[in-house]
Assembly symmetry: none
Homo-oligomer: 422 residues x 2
């Protein structure tokens, strides 16, 4: 069985939003061992949506439809699929009650317009949604199963886990372990270097083994996934994928910063908590992103004491205790100031670790000696020793900030791995 995707929303066909939902779903399908036969992206137009769903139902046994389930006039998925089936929309009372309760929980009355989110094509199975007001639904179109979920990525992913993946696995007759998979997360290495170092581990022309690289563009890490399909022998597939992961780890060494679904920040926070270490941050060019990377992780408050966004020179001195003479002599973007920021953050908060970041994120402010992209990153350790890394990151302001943030977090991860703990 193959699966296909229909992504609905005029924001996806007018260049506003890139359809990253489908990329995510494709990866999950692959991990399930179900090939994706294609994606149709279509605008909020009744006829086009019908044609798209009909088209994909001709190619795939399961069709995942994302988007078009909101309460507004341009949310047409419910209507389009009802029209395709030639059935009316019918109110599903339990869903209506659920939506009303959601609004009540926030002290609001449900606007009348949201009522339509509880209407589904007659005969549909409703897929409940605990993460938003729009329930999904599933219907049969010919011999295909059509599963419709919201387009909001957060909701789509939660609905995938609860409803879609189990349904597709059942349809495809996929047993757990049909595909053995191992994912390594890497940091501070480029995709091309990664490919050069480990690409040859996977034999060319073997359809049962593959390696995939997934660049986390907004985080600054790259995911390396090995997949081995089994033919009735899950243990052999698992052994093979483990051997691949072990060989890749040997070649990549400490460029591997985490495994599985864990992010770099999650791994680093887990290490902080495990080693009972505290942290303070003083950052300039990353402007709060380093602190935000840590505070995105629940439970970090036991370790993260504070962050200083020392944008002005005056604040570098007053908040992080950087000697103004140091700034005068070496400039705010210098190894010396990075070091002083890390030490100052650590001392001010009485933390075990201090992170200091200073650099030129651009687009302005660069010079031949200190070009845009130059960033100094410092880590003050529990011993009081300071390590400084100097990088020249490529790309625009956002890219430089992202890569500098990942590097700062990764320096702490590396130090914590060698830390005996408190």
């Amino acid at each position: 069985m193959q699966a296909a995707i229909v992504a609905i929303g005029s924001e996806l066909t007018t260049g506003r939003v890139t359809d990253t939902n489908s990329t995510w779903i494709e990866r999950r399908l692959l991990a399930l061992g179900v090939p994706c036969s294609g994606v149709v992206v279509c605008p909020d137009e009744l006829g086009v949506i019908q044609d798209a769903v009909r088209f994909e139902c001709a190619h795939a046994g399961a069709v995942i439809v994302t988007g078009g389930l909101g309460p507004t006039d341009d949310d047409l998925t419910r209507q389009a699929i009802a029209a395709l089936l030639g059935v009316p929309l019918e109110l599903h009372s339990p869903s209506l009650e659920r939506i009303e309760a959601m609004f009540r929980a926030f002290g609001r009355t449900m606007p009348e317009i949201n009522r339509r989110q509880a209407e589904f094509p007659r005969g549909a199975d409703v897929l409940d949604n605990d993460w938003g007001t729009a329930p999904g639904f599933a219907v049969n179109v010919g011999s295909s199963r059509v599963l419709s979920v919201p387009g909001v990525p957060r909701e789509m992913r939660a609905m995938w886990e609860r409803h879609v993946e189990p349904a597709i696995a059942k349809l495809a007759g996929v047993a757990p372990g049909a595909i053995a998979e191992r994912t390594l997360l890497t940091c501070q290495i480029a995709e091309s270097s990664l490919n050069e170092r480990v690409g040859d581990l996977v034999p060319r022309g073997d359809p049962d083994v593959e390696v995939a690289y997934c660049v986390h563009d907004t985080i600054g890490t790259i995911e390396l996934t090995f997949r081995v399909r089994n033919h009735g022998d899950p243990a052999a597939a698992k052994a093979r994928v483990d051997a691949l992961a072990t060989a890749a780890r040997e070649r990549l060494g400490r460029k591997v910063c985490a495994e599985g679904a864990q992010s770099l920040a999650e791994r680093t926070v887990a290490l902080l908590l495990e080693k009972k270490r505290t942290l303070a941050i003083a950052e300039s060019c990353t402007g709060g992103r380093v602190a935000a990377a840590f505070t995105a992780i629940p439970g970090v408050s036991a370790s993260l004491l504070e962050g200083l966004v020392v944008y002005s020179n005056e604040s570098k001195t007053r908040l992080a205790g950087v000697d103004p003479e140091l700034i005068r002599a070496h400039g705010a973007v210098s190894v010396e100031v990075a070091r002083a920021l890390a030490l100052g953050a650590r001392a001010g908060a009485h933390a075990d670790y201090g992170i200091g970041v200073t650099g030129i994120a651009g687009p302005g402010g660069g010079s031949p000696e200190k070009p845009v992209g130059l960033v100094h990153l410092a880590l003050a350790a529990p011993t009081g020793a300071v390590e400084v890394a100097t990088r020249r990151f490529p790309g625009d302001r956002a890219r430089i900030q992202i890569l500098a943030t990942a590097t700062a977090v990764d320096l702490l991860r590396l130090a914590l791995e060698d830390d005996a703990g408190n």
Copy 2:
């Protein structure tokens, strides 16, 4: 006339690569006034490519096909379109000579495999490519014009400029200004409320006018776009879209935070710079995101003095001067502490404005009196007056942080709009 896109390549249907080519093309089509009727993304499979091109030719007068023009066995676009037309592939000698010359220029002999890049469906018009070895081609399929170009983004864009855009403009008989468009950005309003307030401005069933809502999920704002198609009268379309935008602005009032392509943070930073005001931030549950929202914008260093991520209670006192008694009496998540954070940030940095944020981002830490999602946001103004907004945001930790950040930035935007300046 509408245009559609077929994006070919198994890397696009296996989650390796997100199809950003189509986003780029959609924007260019929109600017040309030619609506995009949809995108089909399909794997390197002969039958699926044929079906996809046939499907889009049924919807659009022009179909742009990207990818599948390389020299390897899995590059099947030439074959698929020839099969669709029922014609053979024929060698195009000038293209072969051109490809051979390209290899010679790099001191290499053309591998035999590249010969197939000079083969096109009989009757095709060849689109020369100065940026890579793969020429494109154009054919008529029924009443549609199919334009096939390489998938490498750099080559695709160069081919678009030279060949595709002129061809589509001619087919569509497009004059500049064929579509008039106005975009309003909103904050602190839900999509459903937005639709309720302005949805009826656009007459149902009028194909020339549309309104689209685009939720910026990672920012916490919603974009509202009105589009009016003209039929040879650009001035009338512009007048009509302007009237729609004016009416929407009247109904939405200050929920409109920016216009056009400007983001909420860009607009707020522009106001800070225009009014010559400085800013300091003390944030707890948003953990650096408010500072990061501002520091993402180039030039903000003239206004943003510093940010404090006061995660521990001790740091709220030491860095932002919050009276420990206040925390003891009301708790760290309280109107009083939010107010003290805003005042403390402002006073410490001698800034004009101070932002203070404290709340419960979850998943833990909530209670019946102070549930997850409760956030107090305070803005200290140049006069020293403090305004506090209390919200209960829905969703998970990330969503609560995103919405709290947008609200904090928006409170400053609102105050700056009323600020006579320094």
